[in-house]
Each structure stands twice: as structure tokens, then as C-alpha cells.
């Protein structure tokens, strides 16, 4: 039986290998390349997407678990040309170096700020666990705070 879910608001159904991780459906079947493959074991967070609003590591989410799910990827974050405040903050703080992990960092941050709209440094330390090999953490921290501020005054 087909598994039905939505990705960025569009309905999709899936009939293939139910053990396949969501990551590969997004990248290879849905044509959404913004979600990245980094480690395959849920460690690095480059593949972070939202599943019913929560940040999950899509390399470790099997297709079998997705019936009725609502999935948002980095491609679904902006509204038309209007970037999400977190995306804006990432540009304003000039966070990306190579850029590979940043979609995952942004998705993790968007979910984090929903639960923790006014985060302390400790909140950030505990709530953001994605890996960045360029070491952009200093600017990520600033961007998270800037986004939080912008979202509160918006």
C-alpha cells in the first residue's frame, strides 16, 4: 500500500522500499537536493528536515514511518522570494563558508526557535547539535540570536 505524505505542502505517495531513509527520497526521487548527505547515521545533521514541525535527521527516518506526515525541507522554508528570518540572519551574519551543512543548521535552528524563542547561550549549546566542518559556530551563534530578535520584533 502506498505511503502518503506531503513535502513542502505538495502531496506525494511512495511505493518503493519502505526501509529507504527519507533523505534519499528527497534527494533522488523528489528532486530536492538542498537536504544533504553527511554521515548516514544521524550524527552530523546535514540532512535535517522538519517532520510535522520537529527537526529530524532524514538519513535515519525510514519511509515506512511517514504515512500522513508533513515534511518541510530547506526548499520549503522561504515564502516565494521572502526568506525565513533564519535564512536572512544567516546571510546577514555571513555564516556560510563551504555551505554544505548550512541547510541542516538552518532547519535545526528554525525548529529550535519555535520552542525556545529567546535562547540563552546555554540553550543554544544544548539545542543545536549539528556539525559544521568549516567551524562557522561563532557566526551561527550570532545568527541564531539575530534571527530570534528579528522574529520577536516582526
Amino acid at each position: 500500500m502506498a505511503i502518503s505524505f506531503t513535502i513542502n505542502g505538495a502531496r506525494r505517495s511512495f511505493n518503493g522500499d519502505e526501509e529507504m531513509p527519507l533523505l534519499w527520497h528527497l534527494r533522488e526521487e523528489a528532486g530536492l537536493k538542498g537536504t544533504k548527505f553527511g554521515c548516514g547515521i544521524g550524527q552530523c545533521g546535514a540532512c535535517t528536515v522538519h517532520l510535522d514541525g520537529d527537526a529530524v535527521r532524514s538519513c535515519s527516518v525510514p519511509m515506512s514511518s511517514l504515512d500522513g506526515a508533513s515534511i518541510t525541507t530547506i526548499e520549503g522554508l522561504a515564502e516565494g522570494d521572502d526568506l525565513h528570518p533564519v535564512q536572512e540572519a544567516w546571510i546577514e551574519e555571513d555564516v556560510p563558508q563551504c555551505g554544505y551543512c548550512q541547510a541542516g543548521q538552518i532547519m535545526a535552528t528554525v525548529a529550535f526557535l519555535k520552542d525556545t524563542p529567546n535562547p540563552t547561550d546555554d540553550d543554544i549549546n544544548n539545542g543545536i547539535t549539528n556539525l559544521c566542518r568549516c567551524g562557522t559556530y561563532y557566526r551561527i551563534r550570532k545568527a541564531i540570536k539575530r534571527a530570534a530578535e528579528n522574529m520577536q520584533t516582526a
Binding site: I74, N125, T129
Partner: protein, 729 residues
Amino acid sequence: MTNLSRRTFIKSGAGLASFAILVSANPRLARSNDTGHITDIGPCLRFSDDGSTVLCVPTPDMGQGIMTAAAQVIAEEMDIDLNAVSVEFMPFIGIIDDEGIARDKDLTQGAGGSHSMMDLWPALRKTAAYSRALLVEAAAQKWGIDASKLSTLDGHVIDAGGRKLAYKDLVATVDINLDQSAVTPKPIKDYKVIGKDARNVAALDIVTGKPVFSLDVDVPGTLHAVIRRCPHLIGKVKSYNEDEVASMEGVKAVVKMDQVLEEDGWRTIADGVAIIADTYWHARQAADALTIEWDGSAATEDDTNIILDKCEALTKTEKLKEVARNGNPEEAFNAAAKVIDVTYTHPSWAHACIEPHNCTAHVNGNSAEVWVGHQNTTRIANIVKRFADVDAANVNTHMYRMGTGFGRKYVQDFVAEAVMLSKKMQAPVKVTWSREDEIEQDYPNHMGAYRVKAAIDKDDNLSGWHIKTALDTGRDWVAKDFPTTAVANSLGEVVSVPNNISHGAWRGPSHNTGAWVVQSALSEAAYAAGKDPYDFLIALYGKSGTIQTPDWPNMDVNYDRHVALLEKVALASEYGKEMPDGWGQGIAVHHTFVSACAHVVDLEMIGDNDYRVHKVTSAIDCGLAVNPLGIRAQVESGIMDGLCAAKYGKLVFEAGVPITNNFDTYQKMRIDEAPPIVNIHIMDFGDTEPRGTGEVSLPPIIPALTNAIFAASGKRIRSLPISESLETA
């Protein structure tokens, strides 16, 4: 320098107004090509179908920011608003030599050694300035007035009366012969873009998830390859269950991959088995279902602990190979009031490039197309020539951003695999590595032991320096460099301890750990002399002298720059201030290639066996600063990379097999361990040319860290990683 054997505006077909300046007689540039716009792409500027302007930069970007900085140089010399253009990578624009080898011509197309900007600086400015001059001349002819009466602004040629012509409307109009030597780049005083902060030009694409990496490439008809490579450092396939996996869903072929070793034993292709399938997931599934019996008997002695023990033992032997000597070190040690004798060791580090290696290749008879993120554009054509027997001139390479590189993405292997498999399958083939592949098949940093003896004379000065290095590479730089060169009586000795590890360049090769050894030992010597390490370093670098680099004969690093860097970070960090118990500051300085950087680390011990870095204060000398915002990003990056490698970096080999192969066993730092405050000062010593940046901040951060741990806890870190050695230090 630039050989402009042909120069003209070229009008292309299909309404694509393009502007080309040919920087060489390379036949590829003049040849029509049905798969790209090779004839239409000038080195620096291209107009797309929709009339938008595209700046083209020559050098690959792995996060070091050359795409942005090179675009700034072009924008400066051509008077283009960076915000009004997009930026992409140039295809290969070099030459094919008489032996059929692709080579760089004027514009370098490789990234490494922190010298992309140094390499590009003269030729790129000249090329861009010449491009601007041609556009001005075109407008002058169109208006029938003298070019000297015209100027340029934001992508337009303008005259005194206010008339404007957009660059894109000036192409394809006239044939111009303009003497290239009559054109000179702008003087520094006129810069409006160079020297100003510019954000990453790819940022919008990155934060919206655009497919800017080669892993994102989808070439129609592509077959997917997943390769099971021999996990042994040197080893071969004995047997595998081909029949079982060949019938699995989507599998097109099961291909034996044959090991390719270079003459020195360096591994270029690992022995293994490739699954070729219709989708990545099918290939992955079948590869996981492979049962392979390996023969790893050739490398069972390669074991991290055995190698390190052997290295350390060798530093205790009487005499190694002497590579440097000054004055009379024996006498200096005999006459010394105090001698310190300390040994440092460190294991190998993996690159752990965040984007696992991948490449898509389509070999079609005697031509080929390659889609890849790689540190050297020019090298791709030569890899295809070697592994698929295609003329280098017939290789069309599409360069993508790299999800980091650190030196690893300069290697041939992942490109060669895709090329060989595409030739075999006669179809486009995409090879995707797993994280485990990326770490197991790495070309890691060296490991080894360093024994340092320092003599302190009766006046508490450093009077002798004796360093013995035993490393698992042939590198002898640490024994020969500062302070061996600076101390009146010094001796450098080396021995190499060969093994089956294929080593590679890891951000700041040799410097990355050499600076830790030297700056730690100098700190130990300072305390032995009863001096603060800062005062000790100022005294040592205060003697006049230079660091000379043969590759860059005109770019010596004078010691007075080290002094200025140290003074800057000491002042800015309030070095020496009172701190609570369990807190400490550490200072270090180091030159990497022809640049230099100093740091002060402020940290707090967390119990006996952990610590947090609260602040890093840095000063960098990277010559003329093209993009200060990007330079600060690179300094921040090197700090993080160094802090992380020092604390956790340990690629463990057991019986010839790397057993730490993903982020669960090969640990990397997250935001909770990143310093929340990083204050960076970019020094201006009046250079009129850039030096390097990407690797420069990493080497000195490790000794600044371990010196701070000593100041805070009295524990001297003499072996890495710190996470393992702090407890027993």
C-alpha cells in the same frame, strides 16, 4: 606576462551575447563545443540569455572564500557592482602542452597552500583591467570619441555628458586590437571593492538549498555506483558473492576495481567491488549485501600505538639524520645553566570533509564530461586522460563548490573511479562515497614524535635548541624551521618511520602540529628560564631575522611581524591579567607559508579533565586584505579546526585497518565547545599584495590552547588528543 595571442569580441549564436577575451592560444577556447558555451565564455565575464551578468572566477572554492574574493578583484577592475551579478567557476582555460598534459597558463585554477589569491592577484587584475579597457574602447568607437574621455561605473561605460552604455550592449559590436601592455590595473588608493567586507557570493543559493555541490548533480541517464573498497591500508579482494548481488533490484553491473598504487606505494585506487545500479539506493543496498573476503596481510603491522611507540623510541636514539646545524649546540648544552628535555607525540588526523567525495563522469569515445567539486580544475583533464585514455583537450569539466576540502579533494581517486566506470558502462556514472569510505580511504595527516631539548644559559636566555623528529612521513620541516634557524646554537635531526598509510595534505601540512611542538617547547623553556612565555617570545623574535620560503622568494616574513602580532594580541586580550582560579591564558605565534598569525586563548578548566575556551584573540598578517569579512571567517575556521583536532583528532589504525570511520567514533566539536568570543585583528604592514589566509590561523591555535591549559591547571599537554592526555598530564 599574459599572452593575448588572439583578442576579439566574439558574437555567439542563439542570441547569447557573450564577451570573450582569450588569454591564451589554447585551442579549446576557440573550438566549438556542443555541450557547453566554451567559445562563449571569456575568462572573467559572461552574459546569460536573460541579459544578466555572470562573473567567472578561475579557482575552486571549498569554503575558503576565493569565489567571493576573486569576484571582488574582477568587480574592482571592471567596475561592476557585485550585488548586480552572479558568480560562477570558470571551466578549464589553461593550455595543453606538447605531451598532451593540461597545465595552468596565466590564471591558476588550483586551490592549496593558501595561495589562490597570491597566485591570482597579478594575472586576474590584469585580465579584468584589460577587459574593462576593451569595453571602453568599444564604446569610444561607437560614439566616435576618444577612449580617454570615458569612464566606467557599475557595469556601464559613461561619458562626460552623462551618456551610458551597458557592458552587455557593447559586446559583439566591433573588432578591437588593443595593446594589452598599455593597460594597468588600478592603484590601491582607488579601490572601492578590494579591502571592503563582502559576504559570501553563494550565500543566497546556500541558504535556500540550491544544488551548488557536485553531489547535487543529476545528469540524465546517469547510473549510480557504490564501491566497497578494501578497508585494509594495502589489501585486495580475495572473493565476493557476485551472483547474489548481480540479481538484486536495479543492479546493472558488478565491477571488480583493481588497486592502483603509485611508485612510492601511495594508493590511488583501492581494490574493491563496484555496484552499478539505476538508483543510488539500489546500488547502496547491493553494495551492503556484498560479502567480500579481503586479503589484508600486507599491512597488519600498521597500528597507531605501535607506530607511535616506535617513533618515540627513535627520538631517544643517539643520532638521527642531521638536517640543520647552527653554531656549536654541543657546547651550548654543556655550558647550560638549565636544560629542558621534553617529548611530544600526536596521532594521525582524518580530513572528514563534510561532503563525502563524489563525481559524475561521462566518457564518450575520445571525449568526456566531468561534474565535480575538486581542488584543481586543471588536474581533472589529466585524471581523465590517465584513467580513460581521453585527450585532455577533449575534457569538459564543470566545477562545483566543495563541501570542504582541507587538502583531501586535491587527490585523483574519486574522479578516477567515476571516469573508469563511465568508460566501462558507456554511460554517465555518478560515484558517491559513504562517510565510512571517506575516513577509511583518507590520506591523513602524519603522526609521530618530537623530542626537544632547550638550553637556558646563566642569564636565563635560550642558548641552545636541539630537535629530533620521528614522523611517519619523510617531512623534515619542523627540524629545520624556526627556532632552529634563529637560535645561535641549534641542531635538527630527523628519521622517517615508513608505513602503509598514504598521507596527504591536511590543512597547514607540517605546520599544523609542528607549531604546537615548537611553541609549546618555547613556553616550557620560558618557564624554565623564569620568564613569562610572552616576554620570552618577544625576546626571541625581537632579534632581527626572516623566515624565508623558497616558493615565494619575494615574500619573506620578517620576525618584526611576529613581534607586532604578539604585541597586538597581548594588548587586545589584556594578556597577563588576573584571572580566577582554574582560568588561564595561553599565547602563541606562527608563520604558515608566507603569512603569520598569533592567538591568545582564554580558558577555564572544567574539573580536572576538561575545559572550555571562552575567548580567542587573534592577529593575522595576510598581506593586503582583499576581503576582511572573509579573512575573519577563515581565521575563525582555522581556530575551530585546530581546537577540534587538538582535543579529539585521532584516526586509529589497528592491524592495518582504520577503525574510527564515522562521526560516532571520529569526534568533531559542535557549537557547545566553540569559543563564544573571537576577536580578530587583521594587520596592515603596508603590503601591496595579498599573502595567504586559509590555513594560517590553525597551527598557532593549538599551542595557544595547550599553553592556556598549562597556565590554568599546571598540566603540560605533550601528547594529542587532549581528550585522552589531559587526565594523565
